[in-house]
Symmetry: C3
Subunit: 246 residues, 3 copies
């Protein structure tokens, strides 16, 4: 299941039943779990001194799509799924079943929870902290430098179940609290309170998330796990049922 | 004209005088028209169950530039031209002479007219409908989910000759009507009336498009086919001459 | 140091101690300086008639990361460094030690000074002029067409030491003057005065850059060379010491 054109370092540690596509490059300092698929044209474990010798660890049951680049020194729990041409740099620690959209760019030194989803072309700045069950939509940027360029990096924090909609920028050090929603095309320059919706440039609180109704229904669209469960394991969904049912 | 390092499925149907670059991968369920060029490092017909067995059809006289990924289940009429690293997912039906800019990402289930142009890094959400002669500029996002994440998808509609300028977001279900112009960096949360210019966050109508003059001239810049004809066939241009001359 | 799977035109001119990674393609009309590294899956010197026969020149001591595409007809002085999947089209002339971030897209016909840095996913429109020591952050777009689509191109000018923060759009023909700062998520529709900060949509002057203090310190964050020197040669840093010390 390793394509003959793939270039695999003999020092890499590759699990059972791993598929590696044409022309892939797997470098030295890499550990790949069982039952993982890596598509064509990927670079896995791209060397960098910034990793300080730490390996790249890809959990079991993962699928990395074509043209992606992962640096050494990051670690992903089981069930990582990516789109195409993803970049992930060193020293990011991610939980299980992270989904990274096509063209997304994780800059490194990040802490990512379980079941996080980023859609296409999301930019996660260095030192970001993204908790479990967060959703981040296309062209969102999490920044870190309060007065660029400088040596000070204040990562953004996005807390559980928060949602950041497309083309929004979160300024350095801002906390996006649990169950909040950042509307599309917003510039967020202060903390987003728990369960609130912010919008605009600069973003202001406009309502509670729970006030937003599902289209055509008299039912709240948030917290979103009350109606959206696609792609989550049944253990999570049944926990949500007791937690978020109305 | 098929490079020796390309990997071509014997089940694919490849026309006459087709060029396939180094390291390209062409999967099973693919039909490629005559006189088409596919550059290096492309994946053509990437398999997905979501295509439900439909093939990827690339019309004749097309040119797909390097590092692009096309899923099975979409169809393009003749004269498709792309930049580099384009992604097109399943079940998009496109007319002739579509031009897709570098890094653009078509999410699938879209309906695209003839002679549509997207510049670099355009994101076309699922269920978008983009009519003929539309222009979409860099970093524009056509969205579809009114309360993300959810199971409801309301595609954007962009009508003939409309123009969406750079870094604008069109919210779900919005109709951008004929000959309108969405100015740069706008958030469009309601329908754009025919022939009008909208700008801002949220976008408001600011004038009629016909009021915008060509730089240094006492001549309207819109409708744009009155002065801009580069890259269109003479049959189209002569039709425009009678339709849009002043 | 040329990988056996790389495809190198015998007409290209490759200096001493050059490393070329797996599956790279180097076309005919290319000159590569000594001690340069080109990673896997790059296309170097992609042919285009628009180059009018001019070669692609990559200065010595450069490093082009994987999946990048450089067209023929551009020229880079020594010490070019790029991220992954960079695109640079024809007829761009750049000074020394240009750093181009992952996914950035230079559209061609640009003039770039020395020590310019673009972060990830920056779009430099045709006919842009970016002077020495400029910083451009992720998802910034420099535009050029005042009434798209048209045949008129008015490039943006960004002058020495100016900084454009993330997700900002600079409209055609605008001059961003020396030592100014465009705040994140701005739409800039008029010239930015020297040393001033602009923000918003449309962007307005909000203060002098020198009024912004470094976090936790009673010291100006601008001009940034007074405190940020990482990655610049000692000759530059010592010149800055006399010029920008306080």
């Amino acid at each position: 299941m390793i394509h003959s054109s793939a270039i695999i370092s003999p020092n890499s540690k590759i699990g059972r039943n791993v598929t590696v596509g044409p022309n892939c490059i797997i470098y030295d300092n890499v550990v790949i779990g069982d039952n993982t698929t890596i598509d064509a044209f990927c670079e896995i474990g791209y060397p960098t001194e910034l990793a300080e010798g730490q390996p790249l660890i890809i959990g079991s049951g993962s699928h990395i799509r074509s043209h992606s680049v992962f640096y050494e020194g990051s670690s992903f729990d089981e069930g990582l799924v990516t789109g195409h041409r993803v970049t992930v740099r060193e020293k990011t620690i991610a939980g299980k079943n992270l989904q990274i959209g096509t063209l997304s760019d994780f800059q490194g030194d990040c802490l990512i929870g379980d079941y996080v989803r980023t859609h296409s072309n999301v930019h996660i700045g260095k030192h970001s902290k993204v908790d479990s069950f967060v959703w981040i939509f296309p062209y969102v940027v999490l920044t870190n430098d309060p007065h660029p360029p400088s040596n000070i990096q204040m990562g953004v924090v996005v807390k559980e179940y928060a949602v950041v909609a497309t083309m929004s920028v979160i300024l350095p050090g801002v906390i996006v609290n649990e169950h909040s929603l950042v509307a599309a095309h917003s510039l967020v320059n202060r903390d987003v309170p728990e369960g609130m919706v912010v919008a605009g440039n600069p973003a202001k609180v406009i309502c509670e998330a729970v006030e937003i109704k599902l289209k055509g229904l008299d039912e709240s669209a948030y917290p979103w796990p009350s109606h959206f469960t696609r792609g989550y394991p049944s253990s999570v969904v049944s926990e949500w049922k007791s937690k978020f049912s109305r």
